[in-house]
Symmetry: C2
Subunit: 331 residues, 2 copies
DNA sequence: CTGAAAGCGCTTACAG
DNA sequence: CTGAAAGCGCTTACAG
């Protein structure tokens, strides 16, 4: 059967403790002993049992990352950076999908508490998330994205500001009738809508509820349908703010199908700067932030939390910027 | 500290065995006993320790899915279905990124053998994958995608046929000078190139090596750059086959930047039918397959392999079809 | 239907 | 620098 430390120790003529020392470097081992042990491990094709190590150490070297919807290209990009940042610290990542309800979030918490993962990076969907509650034993968690929860660590970019800035860019270019696509109950939607409204208000533009176009999910095809329906009943707006790049891509497609040109007839902007934004037709002006830095920050905050459960709660706001491409023009 | 089965048993006035019976349903328990145990678990906020269970049972309830590049929208879509299919079977998924070399693959194998995961779904990058070798103790593995490896289970769609068919569609519409973007050493690239060549050959079209445009990675921007460089030195082709939708999207963008219209000037097709293909400008004709079915099949094959290490090796080929949209036209 | 004991494979005090 | 023992928390034969 499978070789264990005992087997390795026996073959190398040392004690299990010595094998462990070779493996973990807790205590120095003479070069000769090390060589003997390593030979024995190779000969027996020894692989340490991580469940046993996890039971003993209370650490598994695995963290969970929970995102609402893995199908969004945004999720894949973030995941890439999470996996890379985790790997740099010798951590592996378990992936969970929370969907658009918060039910699964509490389940995840208890799974994290079941100690198969050392901690959890969670992108909560709703503002009133019930999963994170005072009084319940929490595993190490860092919230990413849009929820400001004063009782756990938090890494995000300022959605309200970003959304406001990109709307202001549109206004400064002379757009007045500006639609926004993606309105809904999700936390991100609320914050981004709020930024949009602030921009309008401070420019003295009266907000028109019809221009706040809801979307049942955040997929491009849904956005396209919602926006097409809008076009069925209204004149085209001067500009459209997609709450995400994926939504903006759906709007681009809907406009194309209607024979409307971007940016000649309508300007369009997105949010997130996913890879597809740069190669869209036309390339999309959008909100950019450093996704690698984001992932690394979240993982650092989490590992620090794992190491010290009692450190003060942190909230980190990362910078964002507008990247201008060719999907808007002055009116 | 954390409650254990012993604590629960003590509080409920039963033995640990009974708690285990309640938890796992191995033996029937009277309703009263069950109620007492459940109350005790709730009172102590008991969560079973999965590492301990994993050590004892030799199963962790976790599988690993290893994909070359999580940034590709294709990866996110597949991951979504893997996570869903796994969840249906009570399994969680650990995600790994293999990159474009096969180094990490062997590392993954040994991690799987370290038993923190019960099995591994691996999308190998290169045809001559060294990680899967006879004579080495293998964990339960199913290969997905393009590598035909007779010594482990395998789920795929017929890349050569699919690529050939979509090229033939182009030929049947009167295209003659057909480029393909994405050539490279990766297994998928080789197979898809081979299908493309077969289609040309059986139509009596001489293949032109210049039209087989290489791409160092499979990202849209890279594809756009490679194709732009091609345009710098050659006349535009009649049509372009993107080896993936993401590559085709990059080509669409490159064409747009050059002021060329699709499909008026050049036809473009993709492969994979990712969500973005349907909302591209213009919507992309591509190769579709049922990704949910694919993921479910792979997970089923894996769980069966986990349950019976000695069953015969399986290779499952799933169907594909062409979905026609508006990115091509008859010439 | 329930209890007491053993053991999964590892690592960490505790001795030497 | 190394050895023998104990224990992480669970579940499974083994008895009753």
């Amino acid at each position: 059967m499978r070789a264990t430390v005992r087997d390795v120790a026996a073959l190398a003529g040392v004690s299990p403790k010595t094998v462990s020392n070779v493996l973990n470097g807790t205590f120095p081992v003479t070069p000769e002993t090390r060589a003997k042990v390593e030979q024995a491990m190779a000969a027996l094709d020894y692989v340490p049992n991580l469940s046993a190590r996890g039971l003993r150490n209370g650490r598994t070297g695995m963290i969970a990352v929970a995102l609402p919807d893995l199908r969004m290209p945004y999720s894949g990009e973030m995941l890439h950076h999470f996996v890379e940042a985790a790997a740099e610290r010798g951590l592996h990542v378990q992936i969970e999908e929370t969907g658009t309800t918060s039910e699964r979030e509490s389940e995840l918490m208890s799974r994290a508490r079941a100690q198969l993962v050392d901690g959890l990076i969670l992108n909560p969907v709703l503002l009133e998330t019930t999963a994170v509650q005072r009084g319940v034993a929490l595993p190490p968690v860092v919230l990413i994205g849009e929820v400001d929860q004063p009782i756990v660590d938090h890494v995000w970019i300022d959605n309200v500001a970003a959304s406001r800035e990109i709307t202001e860019l549109l206004i400064s270019e002379g757009h007045r009738r500006i639609a926004i696509v993606g309105a809904g109950p999700m936390a991100s939607a609320q914050l981004r809508l709020s930024g949009y409204r602030k921009a309008l208000r401070s420019a003295g533009i009266k907000r028109d509820p019809d221009l706040e176009i809801p979307c049942t999910d955040w997929h491009a095809d849904t956005a396209g349908e919602s926006f097409t329906e809008f076009l069925d009943h209204h004149d085209p707006p001067d500009a459209v703010v997609g709450m995400t790049d994926t939504l903006a891509l759906g709007v681009l497609n809907a406009l194309y199908r209607r024979g409307l040109s971007v940016p000649e007839d309508v300007s369009v902007v997105g949010y997130d700067n996913i890879a597809d934004a740069a190669t869209a037709v036309p390339p999309l002006t959008t909100i950019d932030f450093d996704k690698q830095q984001f992932a690394e920050t979240a993982i650092t905050v989490l590992t620090e939390r794992i190491a010290d459960r009692d450190r003060p709660i942190m909230s980190v706001t990362l910078p964002h910027r507008i990247v201008r491409r060719s999907s808007t023009r002055r009116r």
